[in-house]
Amino acid sequence: MGVFPRIRAVADHAVLAEFGDTPSDAALAGVRHLDASLSRHPLPGGVESVPGFAALLVRFDPLVTDHAAVTLALQQRLQAPVVSAAPGRLHRAAVCHDADMAPDLDAVAEACGLTRGEVVDSHLAADYRVVIYGFAPGYAYLSGVPAALHLPRKPAARRAVPAGSVIIAGAQCLITTLTMPTGWWIIGRSDLRILRDDPNRPFLFDVGDRVQFHRVAALPGDPSVPGR
């Protein structure tokens, strides 16, 4: 459907640069390339750019510029040679699988035809990458969940899931930062703090960073308040 990238006007103050109708490595690379270009050299009148899995939202001030000028500028940026992204840092996240911290582990095992231990081993063995932040503050979507653990979301959300929960759905994994409902599968809890008090680095991960999980028998400190 159409030729990518495709740039759509959004309301009176944004455009959406779409790099595919479905997520793919090529689409994500396009999003990264354009986002990096705008971070290095902001557009006149630009407000912010927000990456998705296959599209980049570019907000602008309509008193300074307009859709046509921004679209033209983005098309020019897309002609520029791709600067290879810096290799991301590696973060290590401890996960505790105590029954009260991993209420869906048995259900995941049953749905995947694995044992509880095999689910844990499979999850820990994989190498994860920060794809985007989305949904809520500090919610970093990690790609890399092994195919054996790919499950659709649960039919009904569980309420008041504690912050720090390690949750999976499809090919995605994330460590929650707020106590919220979720329809994803809760397979453990981590004390890794993605929201930080440091004003110079308020979020632990950068997009492109790598994450590895390792098992711990218990979490040090109180994992229920990773924020602030």
């Binding site: 759509r8 959004v10 009176d12 998705g52 599209a55 939202l57 859709h67 989305g134 809520a136």
Partner: protein, 313 residues
């Protein structure tokens, strides 16, 4: 130091300032006032910077008592009822509370949000802004009974009303640019979206408002990737129900956005109430830019007209 004590605060009464732009890439919406113009007006009327932190009051209302004063404050936004002790005051106006006096703000005939501008409100800041992200509680936070608001000492000003611009009214006709994921809907559904009327439901808060009205079934399977959301995105879930996302919106979503409300119409949309009717009118991006500039110029003239008269420091 001047102090106000919160006697009663309804749900969703919170500290807001100009908002927290630039962190969408970390999952953080801009937040800020549901009616951005109203907070700006209240601040300028008091003599504050236009984006200074103030109190956003929901239809849940707010009651304060002045513990140490005097405190001059300004109110703007919606058609609320305002009383100083038992005396009705202009719902849009500058007024002074002396120690022991009480202020009551209650919902009136129209509007969902009103704003209380205060001198030098001491607030908790997150990522450079005091705006409360209600879901997390980050920022200045929601107000709770017993809380004491600490303020700067400022010379009192005489009571006066603030002229209320026509643009402050709720907007039942909302302009949108169609898309960006309108490809998921067939032409008849897209036509229904702008031809027929919706109503706001009770599922409305700072994150968004769910609408009742025409069923908007997606024509294609919902296999779209999770894509960025804006304040004003009209997102349609798999059940064909539309939600307009507002100040504390989630930053990405995997449901198609059939249309996006113009930034200039969102303040007026936010002032609608549950069960109010609303219709959407599609405009071109080019005309959206033209009206954004005309409206900004008109608003600047309005602000100049009364901000000069304030005589505030």
């Amino acid at each position: 130091m001047a102090e106000l004590e919160v006697i009663a605060a309804g749900p969703q009464v919170s500290v807001q300032d100009g908002g927290r732009p630039g962190f969408g890439r970390f999952g953080v919406p801009q937040s800020g006032p549901m009616d951005r113009r109203a907070l700006r007006i209240a601040n300028l009327a008091l003599g504050n910077p236009e984006a200074a932190a103030g109190i956003e009051v929901s239809r849940g209302g707010l009651a304060l008592v002045c513990r140490s004063g005097p405190v001059t404050m300004a109110l703007a936004g919606g058609g609320f009822g305002v009383w100083r002790d038992a005396t009705p005051m202009p719902p849009w106006g500058v007024l002074t509370l002396r120690a022991g006096q009480r202020l009551d703000i209650r919902p009136g005939h129209w509007g969902s949000w009103t704003y209380l501008a205060l001198p030098g409100l001491a607030v908790q800041v997150w990522l450079g802004s005091a705006s409360t992200h209600l879901l997390s509680g980050f920022g200045g936070g929601a107000l709770r009974p017993g809380q004491v608001l600490r303020l700067a000492q400022a010379p009192p000003q005489p009571d006066r009303a603030i002229p209320r611009p026509v643009s402050a009214r709720p907007r039942p006709l909302i302009r949108v640019v169609m898309g960006p994921q309108d490809r998921f809907f067939d032409p008849a559904t897209l036509a229904d979206f702008t031809a027929r009327s919706f109503t706001l439901t009770d599922a409305c808060d700072r994150m968004g408002v769910r609408l009742a009205g025409p069923h908007l079934p997606p024509a294609a399977p919902l296999d779209m990737p999770s894509e960025p959301i804006l304040r004003g995105s009209v997102q349609v879930a798999g059940d064909g129900v539309a939600t307009v996302l507002l100040a504390d919106h989630q930053t990405t979503g995997g449901y198609p956005k059939i249309a996006t409300v113009l930034a200039q119409d969102i303040d007026g949309f936010a002032q609608l109430r549950p069960r109010d009717p609303v219709r959407f009118m599609a405009v071109t991006p080019e005309s959206a830019i033209v009206t954004a500039r005309l409206q900004a110029a008109a608003h600047a003239r309005y602000l100049a007209q009364f901000a000069v008269k304030s005589g505030a420091p």
